[in-house]
């Protein structure tokens, strides 16, 4: 599903923020990605959702070597990846409904199908009465839930969530993570970047850990003490 081999990454001419990262995410797996602030979690996700090219090494997503993939094939690959951005990245002039619908519109889904699905999903994340609200009138937690809805509405085969519970209360957070579990059960590969060690402890999943430029993969059994 995702394979990194000796990957390094830098922004423009800056220093390498990731060095020699190697791992493999199997289809249908569920990983937490953790590490201190500034360790490069968001940067690693950027490589996975094809927002950035590796400066060294090989990134393969869905079997495609991204460095060698022609530009015209990228939209197709990106549609199979759902992303919850750390800063949400909602479109401020669009309603919650249209923000979520955008994923489907871009993919050319019929408007009546879009309407039904979007309303249902937004109700599910507790925003059934805020369908027409613009992001400016939503709380951070509500924005985050819109962002999550936008990421999962297209049934992605790879779901990347960057601090998806950072702005919501614990109860809502658990609800969201259960949604991810459910999506994972029906085959979605999930990566959740988070600082929250309690969250990691509550679910029994593998952990990708970034610290001091070091990258490691931990089995869930190693985590029983945390």
């Amino acid at each position: 599903m995702v394979r990194f081999q000796g990957v390094a990454m830098r922004y423009a001419n800056g220093p390498e923020v990731l060095k020699d990262v190697t791992f493999h995410l199997e289809a249908g797996s569920y990983h937490f990605l953790t590490g201190p602030s500034g360790a490069g979690k968001s940067s690693l996700l950027r490589l996975m959702y094809l927002a950035h090219r590796a400066s060294r090494g090989t990134v393969k997503v869905f079997g495609h070597d991204i460095a060698a993939t022609p530009r015209r094939l990228l939209p197709g690959l990106r549609r199979r990846v759902g992303v919850v951005f750390q800063d949400f990245r909602l479109l401020d002039h669009l309603s919650a409904r249209d923000n979520v619908a955008l994923t489907l519109r871009i993919a050319g889904v019929r408007e009546d199908t879009i309407r039904a699905h979007v309303a249902e999903l937004l109700s599910w994340v507790g925003l059934g009465d805020r369908l027409d609200a613009t992001p400016a009138t939503l709380s951070d937690g509500e924005k985050q839930r819109v962002a999550i809805a936008r990421a999962v509405i297209g049934r992605p085969s790879l779901l990347l969530a960057d601090e998806p519970t950072g702005s919501i209360d614990e109860l809502q957070g658990m609800r969201i993570l259960r949604l991810f579990e459910e999506l994972n059960r029906i085959g979605t590969t999930v990566v959740v970047a988070t600082h929250d060690q309690r969250l990691i402890a509550r679910f029994n999943h593998r952990v990708l850990r970034l610290a001091d430029g070091q990258f490691s993969v931990e089995r869930p059994t190693n985590l029983s003490g945390i």
Binding site: R71, G76, R78, H93, L94, I106, R150, G154
Partner: protein, 293 residues
């Protein structure tokens, strides 16, 4: 469901403010140039029609008067049998004498000098005359006949009219190019303003064509709005000119009221502007996005 708004927030990016006015100005100028071209064409055609109504046949004299009369009679027969000829009148010999007086002296006609004969020809107004065929028929009947259809004059007038029309056409083409350039700049500005959102749309799987469509429809609606305003002001200007010129016009020029062709052309201008804007925006966006990852 009401037509939803654009995915990109064009409403507050500034390009919506100046583009329609630029397009309005250009369509306004184009409407004046277009009507000028079409009016010139009508004027030339009506002059053509006026002069085409008349012609002169000149017949070189035969060995004696009787022979010459015979030639004139043969030419008259040809003219009478030509459809569209309303009248053919031999110019009386005395009058020809008077015309020639300055060159041949007062008594030329009476002294049996061989003088050429003239026939005034008047065509039915509006009749389509094949001048070349008529000329050939006359030559066949009377080898010494010379048919003068005032063609030289017409050719010169037509050439003048053609060059005015060509100039107007060039102006319209230049305006179209300027409109295209304006749309290119507005679109590039829009791409820069919305770069972040365009990146986001790419990241959630948007193809370039989807993003281009947003810019296309936006440019089209702005150009259409500007174009309608421009052509309306153009029509008002032309209406005012027509009213002001009517007294002069009736004396000198043929009727210059704006015809159906001109109205259709005017109505097409905003659509043309919209088409140019749409196409230009698409090409601009597709090119720019190819540079992005």
């Amino acid at each position: 469901m009401a037509r939803r708004q654009f995915d990109l927030p064009f409403a507050n990016d500034g390009s919506g403010r100046f583009l329609p006015w630029m397009i309005a100005l250009m369509v306004y100028l184009a409407s004046l140039a277009t009507v000028a071209a079409l009016t010139t064409r009508e004027v030339v055609e009506s002059w053509n029609a006026g002069l085409e109504d008349t012609a002169t046949v000149e017949i070189a004299p035969g060995p004696d008067d009787a022979a010459t009369d015979g030639l004139v009679a043969r030419a008259m027969a040809v003219l009478r049998n030509t459809p569209g000829v309303a009248a053919a009148d031999p110019v009386p010999i005395d009058e020809i004498g008077r015309l020639l007086e300055p060159w041949l002296g007062p008594d030329a006609a009476r002294e049996n000098l061989p003088i050429p004969r003239l026939i005034d020809v008047r065509f039915d107004p509006g009749a389509v005359i094949d001048v070349a065929a008529l000329s050939r028929a006359l030559l066949a009947a009377v080898p010494s006949a010379r048919f003068d259809s005032h063609g030289l004059w017409l050719d010169r007038l037509t050439a003048l009219g053609d060059s005015v029309q060509l100039a107007a056409l060039v102006i319209v083409v230049l305006i179209a190019l300027a409109a295209g350039a304006t749309v290119v700049f507005a679109t590039r500005a829009g791409l820069a303003v919305h770069a972040k959102l365009i990146e986001l749309m790419h990241l959630i799987g948007s193809r370039d064509s989807y993003i281009a469509r947003q810019f296309q429809f936006h440019a089209m609606s702005l150009a259409l709005r500007g174009g309608v305003v421009g052509v309306l002001i153009g029509a008002l200007t032309l209406g005012a000119l027509t009213v002001m010129w009517r007294p002069i016009q009736e004396a000198v020029l043929p009727d210059l009221t704006i015809g159906a062709t001109a109205l259709v052309a005017l109505a097409l201008l905003p659509l043309l502007a919209a088409a140019i804007a749409t196409l230009t925006a698409r090409i601009t966006v597709m090119r720019a996005l190819k540079q992005m990852t």
